[in-house]
Symmetry: C2
C-alpha cells in the first residue's frame, strides 16, 4: 500500500531531532506499521480501561489526551499532532489510564505491540530513541503540572501556544508565525483547567496586548519574545535543539 510507505515520515522527522536514525532503522519503523485507519472527529482513538494490543501513531490531525473527573468534567493533559506516538506507552502499561480523542478527523497508523517487542529485541538504538520519546512525553506532563500549579490563566495559555508552536514547527506544520489550533474555547478551558468564561477573558488578554491573533482555528504569534516572557517559557523540555536556536533569534 503506497500510503504505508511514507506513514512514519512525521515520526521519523521528530525522532531525527533527537538523534540520527539509520536507513535500516527507518525501514524497521515503517515495517512495524500493520494498518492505516481514519478516525472521525470527536471519536476516541484510545479508550481508558482498555488494554490495546497495538500502539497508535498519529499521522495527521490533532488529538487530545484526557482524564474524566468525578463530577464529569474533562481534564486534557496533552495535545497531540502529526508524528506523535500517542500511546506508545500502552505497549508497556496496560490497561490505559486515560483516553485520547480526535480533535479533528485523524489518520493513524497501527503498530502492533508484537512489532514493538521485536524492536526491543533486535534494535537497541531505535529502542532507546522510542524510549526517549516516551520520556519527553513525561517531561511535557511535568511542565503542564508546573504550569497548572504556578501560572495564571493567561500565562498558561501563552505557555500552551509556545509549546504547540515549537512542536508543530518540528514536523513542519507552521507557516511563518501562523499555525492551526483546532480547539474551541471550551476544549481550551479543559486543557487550562479554567472555566469557559474565564478562558474567554484570558484569550482577550493576549489579544489586547497584541501578542497573538486568533481567528477561526488559526493562531498567529505577533510577539514571540513577549509571549515567552508571559509564559515563563523555557523550551528545553521539548528537546528540539534545532528549533531552539531559531526560536531564540526570532523577533
Amino acid at each position: 500500500m503506497a500510503s504505508i510507505t511514507s506513514a512514519t515520515q512525521p515520526l521519523a522527522a521528530k525522532l531525527r531531532e533527537y538523534e540520527a536514525l539509520s536507513r535500516e532503522e527507518e525501514q524497521v519503523l515503517e515495517s512495524a506499521v500493520s494498518a492505516i485507519r481514519d478516525i472521525d472527529i470527536n471519536q476516541d482513538m484510545v479508550v481508558e480501561g482498555e488494554s490495546p494490543d497495538h500502539s497508535t501513531l498519529l499521522l495527521s490531525g490533532y488529538a487530545a489526551r484526557y482524564n474524566m473527573t468525578a463530577d464529569g468534567r474533562r481534564q486534557i493533559t496533552a495535545v497531540h499532532i502529526s508524528g506523535d506516538f500517542v500511546d506508545l506507552h500502552s505497549f508497556l502499561m496496560r490497561p490505559m489510564d486515560h483516553s485520547i480523542v480526535a480533535l479533528t478527523p485523524c489518520r493513524i497508523a497501527v503498530v502492533p505491540h508484537t512489532a514493538l517487542t521485536r524492536i526491543t529485541e533486535t534494535q537497541p538504538h531505535l529502542t532507546r530513541i522510542l524510549w526517549l520519546s516516551t520520556v519527553i512525553d513525561g517531561g511535557i506532563h511535568r511542565k503542564w503540572a508546573v504550569a497548572l500549579g504556578s501560572l495564571q490563566g493567561h500565562q498558561q495559555l501563552a505557555h500552551l501556544i509556545c509549546e504547540l508552536y515549537l512542536r508543530l514547527k518540528q514536523v513542519d506544520l507552521t507557516d511563518g508565525w501562523t499555525f492551526q489550533l483546532p480547539l474551541t474555547q471550551t476544549l481550551l478551558s479543559e486543557a487550562l483547567a479554567l472555566s469557559t468564561v474565564h478562558t474567554n477573558r484570558v484569550v482577550q488578554v493576549l489579544r489586547k496586548e497584541n501578542v497573538i491573533r486568533w481567528e477561526r482555528d488559526q493562531i498567529t504569534i505577533l510577539d514571540w519574545d513577549r509571549l515567552v516572557e508571559i509564559a515563563e517559557f523555557d523550551p528545553i523540555y521539548l528537546r528540539a535543539p534545532r528549533l531552539l536556536q531559531e526560536g531564540q533569534s526570532a523577533a
Copy 2:
C-alpha cells in the same frame, strides 16, 4: 562491598510488582551500580541544567523533584521514596530540566549510563521493565496535572496521601495505616501549589473530618474509603495490582 550486594532490593521489589524478574536480571541490575553515596538533607542530588553521566537510584530516604518558577517559587512535581530510580530518564534526556532534592538524609546508588546502554543492548526484557518504570513516572505526572487542575486543595492533599501510602506499601515502608511523611507544611504547599496559609487550613479539613492523623512526620490514615472518595483516587495509574486488592478491601 557488602552494601552494594543488596542495593537494588527496593527497586527489584518494585519492578517485580510489574513483571517477574529472573535471577540473572536482578544480578545485572546489581552489577550496574558503580557506587553508593550519602546525600545530606536539603542537598540537590540531581541539578537542573546538568548532563549527568549516570542515573540515581534512591536506596533510602525521601526526595522531591522540582522546578523553579520565574518568581522564585518552587513547584514540586513528585515525591520519591526508596526504590525509585529518580532520574533514570537522564540516561536518555539531557540536560536535566529539573532538580531533585533530598527531603531527608538519603542513600543513593549511582548507575553509570554506560551500564544502562549495555542493558539495552543485552537485556531486552529488563530494558522493557526499566522503560515501564519511566512510563509509570510519566503517568504519575499526568495524575498530578489532573489533580492540580481539577481538584480543590483538600482533595489534592488527600490524593497525595493515597498515592504515597500505596507507593510506600509497595516497598514495605508502611506500618499498618501509618507511614512517614517528612514534609513540612511549606514543602507540602510547594507540592500542592497552594500558599502555606491555605495548606494549613486544608490539612485541618482532613483532620477535623477524622480522615487522617498527622503528628510530627507520621501520617495515619483513619478512614481510607473516605480519603479515596475525597481524593477521587483511582489507583490504576500506579500499576500495583497486588496492592489494589488489599487497598480496596481495607476499611
